[in-house]
């Protein structure tokens, strides 16, 4: 091996060591930033997968829930659902999904004074197959530089119409940007009711 060849080989080895395990990769922080720059990563497909899995597990098309929230987290969507057991309506269970995978299931304590009939609502009432459109509309209405989706939840809120108070099912989408946070509220059918900057 000539001296020049040895020097070249040494240079190549040094470069390989310097660049070791970093060529073509990004750090977790940069990846999260990339996801946020694209809108946050809230995916209708992932949410619908969870709904389908719940329907299969509970063996019913009419899943009733007390809470349903989804939060994108570094490439995965964490979905937390409190759903009623159709076989035993007094029982409420908490399901936690990590993407498509069910991470945990645990029972929820329900006090005697709680009225689950009033507190739970059917998942089928929500137009979750319109979630991607809702997300786009929420980001458009928020109109903040660097805005992204921080999470979404289904809720039952009371609404006053002509002096009478009536429960209303809504989809709430949490928005965030470097300078503010906001909540976009949609009807269960996917119609935008408003964006509240906080």
């Amino acid at each position: 091996m000539t001296q020049r060849t040895a020097v070249r080989a040494g240079g190549a080895a040094a470069a390989a060591l310097l660049l070791a395990s970093c060529i073509g990769t990004i750090s977790r922080e940069d990846f999260d930033e990339e996801i946020r720059s694209r809108g946050g990563g809230m995916s209708e497909r992932d949410v619908l997968d969870v709904v389908r899995d719940l329907e299969a597990r509970l063996d019913t098309d009419d899943v009733r829930v007390r809470t349903f929230s989804a939060n994108p987290s570094s490439g995965e969507i964490i979905v937390v659902v409190e759903a009623r057991d159709p076989a035993e309506p007094r029982n409420l269970d908490r399901f936690v999904y990590d993407g498509d995978d069910l991470r945990s299931t645990e029972p929820v304590q329900v006090s005697a004074s709680e009225d689950l009939d009033a507190e739970t609502y059917p998942l089928a009432a929500f137009a979750l197959d319109e979630l991607d459109e809702m997300v786009d509309e929420a980001l458009l209405a928020y109109d903040a530089e660097g805005g992204y989706i921080d999470g979404m939840r289904l809720a039952q809120q009371t609404r006053s119409i002509d002096g009478s108070v009536a429960p209303e099912l809504v989809v709430q989408i949490d928005l965030e940007s470097p300078r503010s946070t906001a909540v976009a509220t949609f009807t269960a059918e996917g119609e935008l009711l408003g964006v509240e900057i906080r």
């Binding site: 395990s21 990769t25 977790r28 694209r38 809108g39 490439g75 989706i149």
Partner: protein, 166 residues
Amino acid sequence: MTARSKRGCAVGVVVLLFASSMITILLGVAIWPGEAKLTAPFLCPDGQPDAFVVTDTYNVQPGETTTNFTLYCVGPDGDSTDVGFGIPMLLLMAGHTVILLLASIALSVLTAVRVKRRHPGLSMQDAAQVELADAARDAAGDDDAPPPPPPNNPIEGAIPPGPIIS
């Protein structure tokens, strides 16, 4: 196929798989983990065409650091799928095996053609031995030494010694 050539094939396959696995580990983990992005067209779902290899570094205990790689497919809205790193590595190993196989076949063909041109009268095996001897002599820098005779002279080998008739 004789038993010897079967054994040779088996050894060749083992050597090929070992070489490709070593290349995959060295290249795909130690030097260029981003190579896993080449497998995105096979592994990413529709609508998530952009591939990222994400590094997670943990300090397991003082003085010990662990780095994990994960391939993600990302869509235009930031929706993503975690593909992992094992399946991309297996695909890369398959690709490296094919490349090595094609390279070794090409090298064998080129060597055979060259040997045949230089030693048209010899069998392939004998010519290869002559080539090896030449290469060894060149490597030793012994240019003045006379070339060794071929191991089997084809002319001598073709005419078996007969009885001497006086």
